[in-house]
């Protein structure tokens, strides 16, 4: 296993989830969210089978298998930042397997429970390893401030006026974890998109307003189907979190308020606020087969006072007929 050699300028570094991307950019490296790389791959479904053929169990989250297999297809990615705390233990095991296969695995730990000092130390350690100094990180953070504001604007145009559609909201927010590996291009495209979206007429009232709780759905045709049913998705819990919705001049604070890696209490507060502010009629709880977060389903039902439909996805496929039937019935009962 190679250790601590400096990474070449511009080198592509894989991320297993959203981590302080400011540090990666400040080090002059190119972040690649491996989840997005996997799911955008035309061979995504085959990648899962490929990982199973390599010995990964059938009863394991398909995102982990997808990340593993997509990395094999991208030999240019020689280093991966793995969130080995604040995500699942499967990621930790994946990191170990990748390390034995010659990929450098840089660990990042979101403190559990949430702890400001520990998080500050983790961010410093990551900066040291990647060779980013404090000033450079601060510069990147300032550089990202207007971009993150634009993402907040995009989110508002989704739930306030409906000028941005659910699938567009999902697409832009989910790819803000690595800015689609090209910050300048992402920003230009986002600016152009917002200019166009702001010219659209506001969406008509009377649509069922849905929110999505949970990790990003692996299913490929959710949004067009919901649109067909007359529902508007105006909230995506984790994709919104990936975009860093709370502005703060303090990087540690920003990643401390980020709910994904911490306890369910933080998520619940975020969800409750969204239910109220965005006037949600119902919440779809997306769960991933074999994911520990499935355990929180009943907790969310018990603590959120609105109709909640739980759906489950395993592999990157289209919606199966049962899930379609359930979504149709859910939208139907919520229709005013």
């Amino acid at each position: 296993m190679r250790r601590s050699a400096p990474l070449a300028p511009g080198a592509r570094v894989g991320l297993t989830t959203t981590i302080p991307v400011e540090v990666v950019l400040a080090a002059g490296l190119t972040p690649v969210d491996l989840n997005n790389l996997f799911i955008a791959d035309p061979l995504a479904l085959a990648r899962v089978s490929q990982a199973e053929a390599a010995g990964f169990p059938r009863t394991l989250c398909a995102w982990i298998k997808g990340i593993y297999a997509v990395l094999l297809a991208h030999p240019e990615i020689q280093a991966v930042i793995a969130a080995c705390q604040g995500d699942c233990s499967n990621t930790q095991a994946l990191g170990e397997i990748l390390a034995t296969e010659g990929i450098e695995v840089i660990h990042f730990k979101f403190p559990y429970p949430r702890d400001r000092e520990q998080l500050a130390r983790e961010i410093s350690a990551l900066a040291n390893r990647l060779g980013a100094d404090h000033e450079a990180v601060a510069r990147v953070q300032a550089r990202l401030t207007p971009l993150r504001r634009q993402l907040r604007r995009l989110d508002r145009l989704t739930w306030e006026t409906g000028q941005v559609h659910g699938q567009e909201n999902f697409h832009w927010l989910i790819s803000s974890s690595d800015f689609a590996s090209d910050l300048t291009d992402y920003e230009q495209r986002l600016t152009a998109f917002l200019q166009e979206a702001e010219q659209r007429p506001p969406a008509a009232n009377g649509r069922v307003r849905l929110g999505f709780a949970g990790i990003p759905p692996i299913l490929t045709d959710l949004w067009p189907y919901l649109e067909e049913l007359g529902a508007a998705v105006v909230y995506h819990e984790f994709p919104r979190q990936f975009s860093m919705p709370y502005e703060s001049p303090d990087l540690v604070e920003q990643y401390l308020r980020y709910t994904y890696p911490y306890d369910i209490g933080g998520r619940l507060a975020d969800l409750k606020e969204a239910v109220a502010t965005r006037r949600l009629d119902g919440l779809v709880h997306y769960t991933q087969s074999f994911c520990f977060r499935q355990m929180f389903d009943q907790f969310l039902r018990d603590h959120l006072d609105l109709p909640l439909l739980t759906i489950e996805g395993d592999r990157p496929t289209r919606l199966d007929s049962r899930t379609r039937m359930r979504l149709e019935a859910f939208v139907d009962v919520l229709r005013p």
Binding site: P307, L309, T310, R322, A329, F330, D332, V333
Partner: protein
């Protein structure tokens, strides 16, 4: 269309059966195209409701005709007059949706059960051929619902297979609840393997049937337990299984009510909706 409320006892011995549902006001029909059976509830020319249950495959093969690329129901062959309005639901509804209004199964069962019970606050458990649905009705509206996971264990088809495996008529199978063996497998396929094990140990088939019924009730209870409510209305074909009804009542903290003709609840909901459709079209 009016809906009587005091009708739960209508299926009891001695009471006239045709009075168990509210009288239809027009010639309407509800069709529930399920995975095992097609259920029809139709208004009879002479008043009152008629019901008909057909194997889904037989219905598809013998009573659906294609005329110039359109799917039609062969009413003549079925011996029924064509209805003035028909609403369909069920897994097969997509086949018919270009020709008839359709509603979701959730709505169909909600409409049927609310009409026959008159309740505003209840849990509705529907156990059909291949899935289980639990609806939570609050203030007269569907507040939430659940359906079972992808496995067919614990559904009507599973019970049928297990009865067939034990070479026991389904009605006899459905009467056993005493001294059940423990069925631990939740899988329909491995469940059978477990049954073989018990048979080879010399366990009485009645106890094995009781064990299967208990496992089905247990799975339903796990879903129903998500909601706190003193009334459980149980519909769908499995509601005719006396053992499952008894076990649910014994183990749940609610009163179980099985309306008459529970298997036709979804079709009734469609027939009621068809009445509304007709009322909208002919002011």
């Amino acid at each position: 269309m009016s809906c009587g409320h005091d009708i739960l006892g209508a299926g009891a011995p001695g009471s006239p059966r045709k009075s168990s549902w509210p009288s239809p006001q027009s010639i309407v029909c509800g069709l529930d195209f399920g995975s095992r059976y097609v259920k029809l509830v139709y208004a009879r020319g002479q008043g009152g409701w008629g019901r008909r249950k057909m194997d889904s495959i037989v219905f598809y093969r013998d009573y659906l005709v294609r005329v110039k690329g359109e799917v039609r129901i062969d009413w003549g062959r079925m011996g029924l007059p064509p209805p003035e309005a028909l609403v369909a639901t069920g897994y097969g509804k997509n086949l018919l949706k270009a020709y008839f209004p359709t509603i979701t199964e959730i709505r169909a069962h909600f409409l049927g059960a609310r009409c026959v019970t008159g309740l505003d606050h209840f849990i509705l458990l529907e156990m059909g051929g291949q899935d289980t649905k639990v609806l939570y009705i609050r203030a007269g509206l569907v507040f939430d619902f659940l359906t079972n996971d992808r496995c067919a264990a614990g559904t009507g088809r599973y019970l049928e297979n297990m009865a067939r495996f034990l070479k026991m008529p389904l009605t006899e199978f459905a009467g056993y609840w005493q001294d059940p063996v423990e069925i631990s497998q939740t899988c329909a396929i491995f469940g059978e393997t477990e049954l073989v094990g018990y048979l080879l140990e010399g366990v009485e088939p009645a106890r094995i049937a009781a064990g299967v019924n208990a496992s089905v009730a247990r799975r339903a209870l796990a879903m129903v337990a998500r909601y706190r409510c003193p009334a459980l209305v149980f519909v769908g074909g499995v509601a005719k299984n006396r053992a499952v009804v008894k076990l649910l009542g014994d183990q749940g903290d609610f009163q179980v009510r099985v309306p008459p003709y529970p298997q036709f609840n979804g079709a009734l909901g469609c027939a009621l909706e068809a009445g509304r459709v007709l009322a909208r079209e002919t002011p």
